[in-house]
Symmetry: D2
Amino acid sequence: MLTTDPWEQDHLHEECGVIGVYGAEGAAALTALGLHALQHRGQEAAGITTFDGSDFHTHRAMGHVAGNFDSDEVIRQLKGKIAIGHNRYATTGETALRNVQPLYAELSSGGFAIAHNGNISNAVKLRRELVRRGSIFQSTSDTEVIIHLVATSTYRTLLDRFIDALKQVEGAYSLLCLTGEGMIACRDPLGVRPLVLGRLGDSYILASETVALDVVGATFLRAVEPGELIVITARGLRSLRPFGIVRPRPCIFEHVYFSRPDSVVDGSSVYQVRKRIGAELAREAPADVDMIVPVPDSGVPAAIGYAQESGLPFELGIIRSHYVGRTFIQPGDQIRNLGVKLKHNANRAMIDGKRIVLIDDSIVRGTTSLKIVQMMRDAGAAEVHMRIASPPTRHSCYYGVDTPARSKLLAANMDVERMREYIKVDSLAFVSTDGLYRAVGEEIRLDDAPQYCDACFTGDYPTRLTDQEDLEVPDQLSMLSERMI
Amino acid sequence: MLTTDPWEQDHLHEECGVIGVYGAEGAAALTALGLHALQHRGQEAAGITTFDGSDFHTHRAMGHVAGNFDSDEVIRQLKGKIAIGHNRYATTGETALRNVQPLYAELSSGGFAIAHNGNISNAVKLRRELVRRGSIFQSTSDTEVIIHLVATSTYRTLLDRFIDALKQVEGAYSLLCLTGEGMIACRDPLGVRPLVLGRLGDSYILASETVALDVVGATFLRAVEPGELIVITARGLRSLRPFGIVRPRPCIFEHVYFSRPDSVVDGSSVYQVRKRIGAELAREAPADVDMIVPVPDSGVPAAIGYAQESGLPFELGIIRSHYVGRTFIQPGDQIRNLGVKLKHNANRAMIDGKRIVLIDDSIVRGTTSLKIVQMMRDAGAAEVHMRIASPPTRHSCYYGVDTPARSKLLAANMDVERMREYIKVDSLAFVSTDGLYRAVGEEIRLDDAPQYCDACFTGDYPTRLTDQEDLEVPDQLSMLSERMI
Amino acid sequence: MLTTDPWEQDHLHEECGVIGVYGAEGAAALTALGLHALQHRGQEAAGITTFDGSDFHTHRAMGHVAGNFDSDEVIRQLKGKIAIGHNRYATTGETALRNVQPLYAELSSGGFAIAHNGNISNAVKLRRELVRRGSIFQSTSDTEVIIHLVATSTYRTLLDRFIDALKQVEGAYSLLCLTGEGMIACRDPLGVRPLVLGRLGDSYILASETVALDVVGATFLRAVEPGELIVITARGLRSLRPFGIVRPRPCIFEHVYFSRPDSVVDGSSVYQVRKRIGAELAREAPADVDMIVPVPDSGVPAAIGYAQESGLPFELGIIRSHYVGRTFIQPGDQIRNLGVKLKHNANRAMIDGKRIVLIDDSIVRGTTSLKIVQMMRDAGAAEVHMRIASPPTRHSCYYGVDTPARSKLLAANMDVERMREYIKVDSLAFVSTDGLYRAVGEEIRLDDAPQYCDACFTGDYPTRLTDQEDLEVPDQLSMLSERMI
Amino acid sequence: MLTTDPWEQDHLHEECGVIGVYGAEGAAALTALGLHALQHRGQEAAGITTFDGSDFHTHRAMGHVAGNFDSDEVIRQLKGKIAIGHNRYATTGETALRNVQPLYAELSSGGFAIAHNGNISNAVKLRRELVRRGSIFQSTSDTEVIIHLVATSTYRTLLDRFIDALKQVEGAYSLLCLTGEGMIACRDPLGVRPLVLGRLGDSYILASETVALDVVGATFLRAVEPGELIVITARGLRSLRPFGIVRPRPCIFEHVYFSRPDSVVDGSSVYQVRKRIGAELAREAPADVDMIVPVPDSGVPAAIGYAQESGLPFELGIIRSHYVGRTFIQPGDQIRNLGVKLKHNANRAMIDGKRIVLIDDSIVRGTTSLKIVQMMRDAGAAEVHMRIASPPTRHSCYYGVDTPARSKLLAANMDVERMREYIKVDSLAFVSTDGLYRAVGEEIRLDDAPQYCDACFTGDYPTRLTDQEDLEVPDQLSMLSERMI
């Protein structure tokens, strides 16, 4: 009777966050703090691997960083001044500990640990070939393919083997690796997933978002560039460009929802981008109402932007419980339908008799919107209008984001008017694609060479999707069928 | 190295929340949902007792409601259509399970369970006398005194014994009791702690706040009146007034901080009261700044009120992590001082170079204010002004609120100017006591007969404080010295 | 699908073991060791209470001593040089932690802890009266009656109150109590349950059996005498005789089965008594066989005695697994009947084609005997004879031993010949009552004034059985109906 | 302060036990029962892998079989009619779950699980070479080498690859493998470790000892022969001999200590062999004493043999606690030296004033003997003689037995007379090597072609010890250095 949060569930979810620390006392503790700040990018499991100059140490656990990585005992055992860490989001199926990263292997060159944010879109094909040649996989993770490609590469140095491996993979990856000699960071040529570089005293910090730098007091230096490979050893930091130059296409949804509002992603304040999206919406789709009500918490910045642009009052018409970080398993079948109120409650005294605009960041399945609109009507709202701070989500993501099947995406099955009827609002509008591009600082989307990956809105994927195309996929998946109890 | 949340820690804390359900299928499940909605009133432990017509069933657990009361197995065992539940806040010292409520006893009249929000201010004296006569206490809770007074009362009926017991206690109590014949609810003559009555189909629901009615879909009927005793049995609901008529003095701090903003307390919307406090502040203490920044989340409604009254923009200059419901134990000694950032982070892109007003609900020790002001300055704020949505907190509470010793209360030791210097702001102002009374709907505080208990601000306590006055208190406490490991 | 050990289950079970240490550094650790040595007397739960001169400390846990009382952390918190400990056996129903001893109460005289081996046979009647006068019980244990009798006694000193309380109870008790002034030990006037006194350096040790002295290296001084009350304080040890002189009747079954073979009970080596019972059996019921086979482990000493007396070889025809201390929950329904072999296995190479005598200590339900005989026949035994080292068990025990209902006792329902047919042996014999008395050193049982309590064989109970006689018992038990989940 | 049992510790320890079930409903439950019966062969961890016709299922856990494999839930998830199981003994260092067997891998041919009793004596060398070619190891177990040799073999069929792999390994192995097509069992050409074949209805059972057949009611068919490879598929059972014919040398210590007394090993009853060793000892080293006392439990059969041969009485002079299967962590530093008595206690009433012979199976470090002799003297023994049912243990084992370093082996450092002085007995004697061979049914040890592996007594190892000879071993081990917390 587990009910994962019915409102969070109705969002796209980032699958991972990574952080690496090079050259700091207490590297594991800093990494744990960074993972805590990146908890929103993956809440299923977390792991840290450190290197102390002679040995590697790993701790991985199901669940949140808090509770698993905040004991002196755990941190003390993670010795060393170099560390990488990883947060993982629960995708369907395999939630076993063996899939929790960092993954670790003993190669002929010594220990090698890897943490990956993204998704390899030809992993099944590569895996099949590696198994055929005698490789034995420990996990069902696409990331392990990279390790075996490194292990079996015929190049001489580890770095050459690593580049050789990456040249064979397709998809999205922001990678942090730990070896006996230092740390390697790499962002795929398109730069789909974010990765930033910071400095704390004499040490370097690499992380998915700037908030992980903030929490440890590090200074933000710059984003790792798409296609850039950074090697940090005792001899210092080197930047390489082993892949040809490609026009980058970072994920635009990081600005809409994935990243924290206090992060700076590829040069823009996420909070300000979201306020600008709200202002675009106010211009594109004004409404004659009494107040602007955000769907907490992700709709708040856009709602402030909409309210400031429109001059209408911003009010907390929906109160979010502080205690919903945890899943609440609803007791008793007969009251299952009460569950939606565990997380949010109408602020009835404000809503009763009023015309309102609800601001949310996106509509995925539409189930949440339906319930929240009903909650507003139950609280006495005279009119309920809805404005969405992203274009309609019509396509699946294959780059490390957990998207429902297309058949479940409301916008893949209905036009805006039918969506309006379905969620029962008086009016419904989404920001336009160009409005979104304006909010992130572009004049217009260049349709021939889009500046961002916006495939979830447009279906315009920046890479091949080999495993999707491969008709043998179902057979291959059966190879991964062992179930660890 | 446990670090309880350094910001929450710097608040006064409500010690308990209660809920009772009479006559509903799945009473335990409804009670669990209500306790979840009241989780902010007590997060240390929770318990539910039910009666199924022949047996009583109790489950009590340390920790949150979610995780302890949301499994089918637990709820199934809590059989019956009558239930009472209790959330408990961690006061100092005794956190053993035996102190978790509801407390239960087999009296000669049968089973008797009790859940209590408040504090008995002559409990030590009464306990000493009861032990002298042969009573054996199971807990160190003040609530158990009431049970022994009932058990040893010489009146004939349970109801007479219960009233006899309450006439001997002094202090604050909102009580819910379960017996083989039904439910008894009682609010002390001053009505210090809140208690409301609602209806769900044919069943009655009693709870500390209206949000517990909302979560189960119940209708709010009315507040239980100060001094009112309600008995609900198979023959229906009866209201009694066993105590003489006293002028009520409900706790004004419920409006400032304790209650959820979406609750209606003694007739007023908490959210709207808080906005009005913010507006009073804007009038009493205006500031020439660029934006209004709430200290999340408790400062948000007052900040919206201040912004609307002043016409200045409301901005999220501080971002609160979603993942701080859980305590994070900071790993590693050398980075302990980083811990404050686990919960909040400056939205640097908004703050840098700006003059801001921070709005918070209260200042207790001042430790939080100090850190948050520093965080704003580190983020580049040009000026930092602070406005507080309550008068200075100068006195301890003895009515069920966890207050630090007076020596730790900043306002008990400094005037406003010295407090301003201490927390290092450019200006500091508190709402006036009359401003606060205006916000809750009074014209002015009647100093001869104050409408509210505001002892934490004024030192004007509405009852005797027998145990405080009693010089033998230290000796008596040593009777409670057993430590259960 | 829990299968408690099917062979142990078919024994009578001692319900408790106690140990107390007065005046030793590390009293809790010594107590834990002693409880470990007394584990056979109670395996459901254990507890220790210590007093450190100012505070009492208690740790109680379900399960064995090992695993619950062997960590430095637990022992360190049990501070003080005075300690009492208790092992509890699982009787039907209530296995909640609140029934685990030592029980503790704050009396007007200060803290009071009690550990009890035995059973109060008028506990229900006393409890009913105490509740009527306002006492609130914490447990469903008969032992708590003693505490409330002490608490409500009108005598002045604690010792007088304690004696006053004991004069009201009927049944069997070996008690150890801890107070702020020292330790009190008491054995009931009949001396049904054992209690011994030992010395370790300057400290005193009291325990159910001498093996608890052996394990800590203490010297055995003497048995506590029936009706003796010992008080140990800073002023030394005092022996009192507060009850009139009664002819003692210690439990004879301690020699047959309950006590460890390496204990000395009331002056006799248990091992030697059991060998002598075997020798009596060899004389009373010889058999023409190839070898003597003990049912391990309790039948071993009698089998050695039988073999030595008869001149027949003693052989391990049944091998007991080392790993059956733990309950094994048999996996899979279809193989449930295989479960009996988890604990014992036939030593087929020895049994095949041989005529054997099996020696066991007692027959309770007969279920074990049936299975073990079948196991011997399956292993090829040519003839299987059985000899039992006690008279037929025909009556229930009300003095602290868990006996099945009389309807389940094989010997209460069948004569020896029908029992022989039921368990399918070629011959069956029990030692005679006089043979048993000879083995414990008496010439003959004095039927007018029996030297031992042998009620389980003879039905000759040494005390009144008030609660058994009381027709209202079922009603009273319903008062104890709360179920803690 | 963990004290593993100080007496068991002073034995050589078998490292593993295996069992496989082919073609039975509830295969996992039968396997769990068999592992329980083989618990003495490995107590650190256990695992079971099943195949249900399409998927493999694995459950592995640290700790005993009971408690980990006896829940319906666990067994239900281990679906299928084919299963293999493994018990593991704690060797030094790596006790992580990843080393717990069965090991499992997805090969290009499909799933492959393996359980191994024995030790590969060139594992380090093979592993180094495999890593060099790109293999990634999941464990530090020598067994994983076999899997990678299979995975990278260039033969076509799995069976040919498996044989190819085994031809490269040196050492001792009794293996059970599970594939999508059935089960493979194999015993190394020398037959060092035992393996037996049984039948239960239509299904086959393979196990380390016959007791695992007994517990599930299976019939013992025969021992798997040294060098035999058995394949069981839907087409039936096939026996292969892929290795050349070698003279077998099964481990003689299985008879002395490892195997359970109720097992039949390579045709002999272990119990009877041990009795015969005792009889040999009685003839080789008689003693003029009052009684024969076994060191329980492993010395019992030899003591019975010695007593019967000498005509002296067999007595339980040492009582073993039933509750020592569990480790007891001794509480409190000051009493650590009391710990030895947790497991055994002198039966003082028997020992006092008597001349005794103690019979034990072996002396490893001598620490136990020293303590037990002292315990006998403390109990008043007039003379203490010791007889050991094996020759002096002078050499380490490299075939799957955990032996202390040679420097710790008492017999590697002292002659018998000095050992006598060290353990402080009046006389000491070991059975002769020829006496031991006579007890197992040989006339004499053929020194040119010994019938058994007796290297621990003689130093005459039947295989090369490549890894021992390899000077680079220390460097290689550092490759395995990651520590999983």
